[in-house]
Symmetry: D2
Subunit: 343 residues, 4 copies
Amino acid sequence: MSLSVAVSGASGYAGGELLRLLASHPLVKVGAITAHSNAGERLGALQPHLHALADRVLEETSAETLGGHDVVFLALPHGASAGLAAELSPDTLVIDAGADHRLEDPAAWEAFYGSAHAGTWPYGLPELPGHREALRGARRIAVPGCYPTSALLALVPGFAAGLLEPEDVVIVSASGTSGAGKAAKAHLLGSEVMGGMSPYGVGGSHRHTPEIEQGLSAAAGEAVRISFTPTLAPMARGILTTATARVRPGTPAEELRDAWASAYGAEPFVRLLPEGQWPATKAVLGSNYANLQLAFDAHAGRVIVSCVIDNLTKGTAGGAVQSMNIALGLDETAGLTLQGTAP
Amino acid sequence: MSLSVAVSGASGYAGGELLRLLASHPLVKVGAITAHSNAGERLGALQPHLHALADRVLEETSAETLGGHDVVFLALPHGASAGLAAELSPDTLVIDAGADHRLEDPAAWEAFYGSAHAGTWPYGLPELPGHREALRGARRIAVPGCYPTSALLALVPGFAAGLLEPEDVVIVSASGTSGAGKAAKAHLLGSEVMGGMSPYGVGGSHRHTPEIEQGLSAAAGEAVRISFTPTLAPMARGILTTATARVRPGTPAEELRDAWASAYGAEPFVRLLPEGQWPATKAVLGSNYANLQLAFDAHAGRVIVSCVIDNLTKGTAGGAVQSMNIALGLDETAGLTLQGTAP
Amino acid sequence: MSLSVAVSGASGYAGGELLRLLASHPLVKVGAITAHSNAGERLGALQPHLHALADRVLEETSAETLGGHDVVFLALPHGASAGLAAELSPDTLVIDAGADHRLEDPAAWEAFYGSAHAGTWPYGLPELPGHREALRGARRIAVPGCYPTSALLALVPGFAAGLLEPEDVVIVSASGTSGAGKAAKAHLLGSEVMGGMSPYGVGGSHRHTPEIEQGLSAAAGEAVRISFTPTLAPMARGILTTATARVRPGTPAEELRDAWASAYGAEPFVRLLPEGQWPATKAVLGSNYANLQLAFDAHAGRVIVSCVIDNLTKGTAGGAVQSMNIALGLDETAGLTLQGTAP
Amino acid sequence: MSLSVAVSGASGYAGGELLRLLASHPLVKVGAITAHSNAGERLGALQPHLHALADRVLEETSAETLGGHDVVFLALPHGASAGLAAELSPDTLVIDAGADHRLEDPAAWEAFYGSAHAGTWPYGLPELPGHREALRGARRIAVPGCYPTSALLALVPGFAAGLLEPEDVVIVSASGTSGAGKAAKAHLLGSEVMGGMSPYGVGGSHRHTPEIEQGLSAAAGEAVRISFTPTLAPMARGILTTATARVRPGTPAEELRDAWASAYGAEPFVRLLPEGQWPATKAVLGSNYANLQLAFDAHAGRVIVSCVIDNLTKGTAGGAVQSMNIALGLDETAGLTLQGTAP
């Protein structure tokens, strides 16, 4: 068996990471590789780390070049995927790495993205309750944002188990710069980012805020409100999310830990680390793993969960491939057996 | 006028930073430079960036070598300063960069440090209400911890103005690795820390937790409880603190901002940035400045304050020199006019 | 088919990289994982990126634990492998990632390593003339040093083709810090290495100097003398080697390029990049590829070759696995199809 | 005494570094601060590390805004300074941080820069033989390039003493990314440069090549030909230059060392380190120092010199201020007493 798979947005970081994973996927044959302004160029000039595909030439992103594949990955600016997907066969599995089809609430979409809502697709985070089932057989999938992937994996077990209070949830994430994309911007120059950290999108204005609240509220069965602050760290890849919530009074510490342990005990890519070991982003770099650890701070009455992922792998392309595997009934781990690249 | 100043612990990062600043201080003559295991070595071999003092030889740390100076800086492991200070003249200004004399509550000291409390000295963070006055004429000063410096500067104005609630205060800090000192440890190797982030001391166990609570509680006039999570960032210097607290219902956004603006309007080293500009650690590297910005997240009902300092300068040696200047009635900014080193 | 493979030195960087590659090798079953001072610990605590092997426990390194496998990788301090190898069956493939069996000249060994020469094993750099053949069926293999791998790949084609002069060969390499190992040393702390570069082993004193000269001289058919300067770069992995030699007068530029193009045209892991594209270490990170480019500087009469590898992969563990594949008659690329991890 | 000093190009890295130094210069009053596309903006928004000048507003770069100062620093793209300088009074000290007036040979200028030669100004590297004298009283000064500063400091003493041969000189430099400027370019994004190294301008094509040859040839009294390869290192600041040349046969090792020791023994900013200590870029970061060390490789018959500078300080703005001090008869070290910022 060999699936034909097309990747659009192949000159960017998400597209490059999709190709990195797909190049080693045992059941995949990489078909069209497309881009916009870089169409006509060799992939090897744009993504020199993709040795196996170096001589492939990028085609123009269009329904024609993407059509006729079993699977199409869209790694496009938001707003671009709905129209393109509509032109592709409903039998084609279309996986959108962009934001367009993640939010269920049109008002939230419009408030944060300023355009008309394009509808909601099944959400490619199979570790959330009920999500794996919803992905089976799906032909349209929305890949979660990188921050929401880490934040939801961090807190959903506690909310799903009814152990956390829905107010005063605080999430602070540090992300590598690849999350900001490959477009040339002066504040993202190496000279600016090396050796320093800075926050951005503070005060609830980051677009991933409603996406995180959507996932937590669904798990909690009530509206959860968060304070989310993203920060930019001097590293190319990786997210460290520190998530903390007030624990319902009277909850025993062991019950807290059990909630996470039982939620993830059978998951192939999410690991609650042994007690005493704290996660480090380097341990998951280039891999589809999420590592977590939690502590109960009895003095403050809060649980603190640390979750690390690679923003481009589990946070984007790896989650997308994992979702593809589930949708098509393949081994969920196919093409995703890479260990972390450390040190 | 020329003060004779001795620095102990000169082979470490705090000692080196003290010497870097003192070497350019217009009113200071650097006297004894002392260390423990490195006594007898050239400073230039241990701290090659201190060109002006390269040929000085380190002496043994003792009351004899440190005695007879106007000012003595102690940059020693905790537990070592009380005994040494007792041997120095009460007229000598002794400034302890270690933790021994920061905490007022002996129980908190014993719980977090596991030894007998050595007593409390005036706390060298002059920007806190009443602290500058307490430092004037002091002959014993405790330099604040680096995390507490950033956290207290971030939140004290809101608590002092009565605008913040004392529960569910959450502080997440990212620190450069120099905060962990110069002792060789495998988990602090460049290979381990470059390109990644990790948390540590999670769940309220970090020793700076009671120090932060002490300062916030004093400002609030009631007990403040915090959740504090430090993380290690891939940079040598700098702290980015994200501090967030619930705003008392009904507080207007402008009143919030006014609290910080009026607290720091006349401060020489703490700057509330113009609205829209977020702080970056690189802007304060090597300088004694703290830059802040805040946002009111009405949806979450919380204020989020970002504060950046250089952990070795404002967070340790710069704050120490600033305190020295105040204690001795010098210009508070003497020797501290360095701009940030960027990019 | 499934080979049983043991890895010693599994708590270090070379051992960890071997396990990272072997964990994904389709024909390998990882057997004993051994260490010295870390014996008895979980691999997951020491190498948290090796998710697939996290629960394996390290055994003591000995002929007993390593015996009975088809292949044994030794990643030990130099001096330790000869004795251990002598206790293993001559039918076992023993691959030494250390230096002990690389040098042919006992005098060079003794001058640079200060101990008795342990003998020479086939040298695991199959891209050198005649080396692939020598590895077929071998049961003892010496893995080249990381600097020699990059320097020999850079210059051997020119010497083998008789185009370069044997004097005034200059090689300057920048290496990531993992090349210095995982032992805790103060000068390798993240605080010391981040944001800076420094040379070491200058003036011909680095132990890889005779190893590079050995390989170049064999290719040239005459004694080649080099000036080799290694430098430490603020990155965890990767080597950029700049190698330059005087071109024999009258050599046409195209003949120069042809020498490299024909040497590597059929190689699976060494790529001469298209003209105009210069290699970057990030394009090969975590992969077994070596990327090269060359320029003829007519004004200076010299060729300059840039070669990048990952010091831990092609420079150590990847080269070792490639050699194993050749020795055992497997597909040379088995287990080595990883692309680079970028950005 | 207080000199009025104007700085153009103030939004870039060279302009920012000039202002960082001038803000602490005891004899300087910063006058007009000018830029092109950023005119009208607050300096604090563009160079947030320059706290002392944060509220200054950038003016348009023109002869009008720059006129009427004692000193004008030009930090402009090449080609822009000659016209502007012609409009400024011949009594004004004009210091050009750009390339326009460095090269003496019009043919070399035209070959490497592709435009008409603008003439030659005194070259602001006072440590070269005769240069300090030429700078005294000068009113037009060309600041050397950053690579030439490090390469000339590394090799000139040997050539001036007649100890080195003029062929097969090889220079390999690793530079921080600030040398490439602040313009947004995708290949300079943090995601691209962090964690990796790459060469550029290989084969003698970099524009600093003729500038280095000019300086070496003048010192040697004969034409020196070099192979120069610049590489980009993952750090914001700093240059490590490895320079190597063939030693004339029969030269004793001590004579070699003496050449450098006597050349720099009285220099305030260039230090030949004690034997056994190798230079590190971090020791000079933010300072005007150049640190050097050399080794004689008898086997290869070559001397290897390692030289480190901060490309923005000694390599640009610091050298410019030092030249200003000399030209105006001030203390040469005024405003340049900053130590390195380490760790």
